[in-house]
Symmetry: C2
Subunit: 330 residues, 2 copies
């Protein structure tokens, strides 16, 4: 049974996982949908109620029914490197590849539908609340008056994008910023705005969840740092020399995080928390495709090996997205 | 409890349903995401584990928790009619609106994830097979040799797109066409190609499924028609005067169609079948957002009323997509 990895050619994170899969003798097919058609070929036959499908890349031919798991890491757009690329060819190629894979019985990290849902910030906040994670008071609004009233109740606020990275080429991370006192909120009417109570942070927490395995890391805030410094507000822009260190996960957080993944049908999630002076971990977001290389390098935690072990497991697992035909609704 | 309809301003099909909802006194909020921000406003507050959300359009303010159902009919792109439209504003507005709606407890016709999955033709064919529907022998391939061997086994073939409509502006339906004997299949390597055994049709069948209600219509093939005529091969291009007439659904087909919808978490689907000389209904495709106005007009079947009744039902229903937090995986 083969592990299928969908990612671009240059992907050091995928390389780290492939090393572990190779070491344990698990067959791997790695390909980029950008090479379909061309370096990647596919064929699927539906005859007399049966299905036989194959994928070919770099001279290797693998049966769709022989896939044990699919890792959607960082795939390029289908047909992007075709001889004559077009929107139509990308659509045809994407539907052919993912349509076929959606019908297979492999376990997904993560299933495209689960991934798509999990990217929505308002859904994340509501889902985290329902799973029992503390969420800082948040408002998403196009009503200036609602923003003003919220700022009266929670005077120390940050503003951040609703959707994540700006879709320029290459995409740009939009930093979380503090809201100055007396800000005029009338422009809120021109675009949905996310305002959130600023957590007085003692540390940033990155919790990487791989199936049921939770690996947390903690990066303390430099006590001498300016609280308005962009790197203090948003850890992605931090310049401090304080390293990420392994951290224990509080049992209530562990339970809530496992429920978050299970109910969202996710096999992988990178959770960001802000730890306050009382030691409470406040949920900020969960990135279903978040990087883990930088944490593994600084903490020595075996994240790549844990991902490889999850991908290598033989059968479907409870709590992960398999495919529509196997799901039920309660 | 309100029915939310997401669609463009000019949508006669939605108008037909709204008439029935109005007649039965069910509150309706109809809006187009293209008008957010602008004519449409939203606000959602996540405080102390609770969520309060609102949508406003045409002067009406509705609570998100007061929605009984959401009909994703034919919505425009979020922020398309904003004062200063941009890809970034569309992304922010779409995530704000759909992210908030994804967290609500309303029933969906159809949930965006279920709809997205259901658009994949290879997945449709495999799913139909698994549900027990007869599917004509089909090949989707980029291997010319596989296409040649398939044509040897099934000499009478049609070719159709894998993905549906061509994404030009406005989108263009790509007709299903017969494959001439002796066709050279070497170009298959340049794009995934869908080849399907041609069914010797006596009639086209359109089965509109609304929850558990099945309304089928049948349009006989004109016996004098040229079998190579595009309108004979693809009913969407038919010019014959033979009308659609109501038809009985064979019990095995009814059972399989209900399973198709239930396992795919769809509340609505427009199924196309080809009826052969033996009376067998061959599954061609299921369009999860297929039109029904033309069938209702010709057959007099109460499809709009059935859709209105489904939307108006008070609680969540088994077999339809609600939201991630309520789903389980078996």
């Amino acid at each position: 049974m083969t592990v299928l990895i969908l990612t671009s050619e240059e992907d050091v994170t995928a390389d780290m996982v492939v090393v572990h899969l190779n070491a344990s003798g698990v067959p791997v097919l790695r390909l980029d949908p950008a090479d379909l058609p061309g370096g990647v070929a596919l064929s699927g036959e539906f005859v007399h109620g049966a299905f036989r499908g194959h994928l070919q890349s770099a001279g290797r031919l693998v049966s769709i029914s022989g896939l044990r798991s699919v890792w959607v890491r960082r795939p390029g757009q289908a047909a992007a490197r075709a001889a004559e690329p077009s929107a139509w060819l990308s659509e045809e190629s994407s539907q052919a590849l993912f349509g076929m894979l959606r019908g297979c019985d492999a376990r997904w990290m993560n299933h495209p539908d689960a991934a798509h849902q999990a990217r929505h910030k308002p859904w994340q906040l509501r889902h985290a609340q329902r799973c029992g994670l503390p969420v800082p008071a948040t408002l998403i609004t196009t009503f200036p008056q609602a923003a003003r009233e919220f700022a009266d109740r929670f005077p120390d606020l940050v503003v951040k994008p609703v959707s994540g990275a700006h879709p320029q080429d290459p995409p740009r991370a939009v930093p979380t910023s503090r809201v100055a006192p007396g800000t005029d909120f009338s422009a809120v009417a021109f675009g949905p705005t996310l305002l959130q109570r600023r957590v007085g942070k003692k540390a940033d927490i990155r919790l990487t969840a791989v199936g049921d395995e939770l690996l947390a890391a903690r990066k303390e805030i430099d006590e001498d740092a300016d609280p308005d410094d962009p790197g203090t507000v948003d850890v992605r822009f931090a310049s401090s020399d304080i390293p990420w260190r392994p951290a224990e996960v509080p049992p209530r957080i562990a339970e809530a995080v496992r429920r978050y993944l299970r109910d969202a049908e996710l096999a992988y999630g990178a959770f960001d928390f802000a730890e306050d002076a009382d030691g409470t971990w406040w949920f900020l977001e969960c990135n279903q495709s978040g990087q883990f290389g930088f944490v593994e390098v600084e903490t020595g935690q075996p994240i790549a090996r844990t991902v490889a072990q999850w991908l290598a497991r033989p059968g479907p697992t409870e709590g992960t997205h398999v495919n529509g035909a196997n799901r039920t609704v309660c």
